[in-house]
Amino acid sequence: MDFLKRVEIVVPHPKTEKMIALLEKAKVEGYTVIEKVRGKGNRGTQDGLGLTDAFTNSLIIWYGSASEFDQLQESIRQMVLESGGICAVSDAAWVKK
């Protein structure tokens, strides 16, 4: 059986489209994006101040099957490595897809 994974990605706002493109290329069924979240990590504080969105992050939620996740895991890792941010995964189950 194929379990469901909840993948949560945080990337700098200007890298949002790139990360989405990665998911779309892999033909995932769907994803959800929360824009302009604040945060702190190794690259400092993103406080959303100022007149640019460059200092905010985007949070991307992707529910995918364990096998889809296995396939995508490495390229997500690579992109987060390049662009900054984090990615974590947890177990979940569909109530309704």
Partner: protein, 321 residues
């Protein structure tokens, strides 16, 4: 120094609201201007100054008169990041050096519009092409800055990085709006300008005042971030603008640039970017610390220029002309 002029400048609404914003942070008021509103106010200022500049241009700036100031604008935008980079490299790593150099090579549109407002108060003319100078000076420093740090970056990615920086530099939103408005101001008829002027021109001072309140809030929040990074950066944020301004004034006087244009060029040379460059640097040079280059430009150089710089450069130029 002309203290009279400094006082008068201090008593103008935009500066007073800027100080009010600083004060709000100092007393830890919860005053906040929504980000989207601040973006709208900033968009308005670019739109307004661009249109006005275009209309001025269409009323015939002499082409010959434009060459020297625009040439100077390009020169400053390219030379400043180079020389500052070599100063900075002695005190910090190559990434921070590149990012700060880019910040100071570029310009601050709000400093510029504050200066324009000051000039208009004083009843002094300037060429519409100065708005082009503003637009021209925004981006080159980004590219120079990235190239300078680029030597230290991996081969393969450096090029890709540079390409995307180049693209960003020439298509970034604020440059785009100002150039677009400039061109539109240039091609529309006076009658059509009269249609938009009650919005773009009559509201200018009021919106600038409100926007400066936000700038004060921002600068106040940023300035404290600098404390932990030592005296050098603070001194740099004071000294380099003054140096750039001084050199610019001398060259302008020598090259016969008109008083109004010289004043605006000086403020451009002295100003540092706090929008476009930080945004570009966060992505292109993520190793650099925005906790240093943002507070420098926003917390030190911006207040320096608008509070003391504007009346000071003005009175120095009066001596020179």
């Amino acid at each position: 120094m002309n203290f009279q002029l400094i006082i008068e400048n201090l008593l103008s609404p935009p500066i007073l609201f800027f100080l009010g914003g600083l004060l709000a942070v100092a007393v830890r008021s919860d005053l906040e201007i929504p980000r989207d509103v601040a973006k709208f106010l900033s968009l308005f200022l670019l739109f307004s100054i661009g249109l006005k500049g275009g209309v001025e241009l269409s009323h015939g700036d002499d082409l010959a008169e434009m060459i020297v100031p625009l040439g100077l604008a390009v020169a400053f935008a390219v030379v400043v990041p180079f020389y500052t980079f070599y100063i900075l490299k002695r005190k910090t790593d190559v990434y921070n050096a590149g990012a700060i150099a880019a910040t100071y090579g570029s310009v601050s549109a709000v400093t510029f519009v504050t200066a324009v407002s000051f000039l208009q108060e004083a009843g002094i003319d300037f060429g519409g092409h100065m708005i082009a100078a503003l637009a021209i000076m925004e981006s080159p420093a980004i590219i120079v800055g990235v190239i300078l740090t680029g030597h230290a970056q991996e081969k393969g990615k450096g090029k890709k990085n540079l390409k995307s920086v180049l693209h960003e530099a020439f298509t970034n939103g604020s440059v785009f709006v100002i150039l677009l408005s400039l061109i539109i101001g240039l091609v529309i008829s006076d009658k059509q300008y009269a249609g938009v002027a009650p919005f773009s021109e009559n509201l200018f001072k009021g919106i600038l005042s409100l926007f400066m309140l936000d700038m004060g809030l921002l600068a106040g929040k940023r300035i404290s971030g600098l404390k932990s990074h030592g005296l050098f950066f603070t001194l740099f944020g004071i000294g380099v603008p003054l140096l750039n301004a001084g050199v610019c004034m001398l060259i302008c006087a020598w090259a016969g640039v008109s008083f109004g244009n010289a004043f605006l060029l000086t403020i451009l040379a002295a100003s540092a970017s706090y929008i476009a460059v930080p945004a570009a640097m966060r992505i292109a040079v993520p190793q650099a610390n925005p906790g240093i280059y943002v507070p420098m430009s926003l917390g030190i150089t911006f207040p320096l220029n608008i509070i003391i710089g504007i009346p000071m450069y003005y009175s120095i130029l009066q001596q020179l002309y």
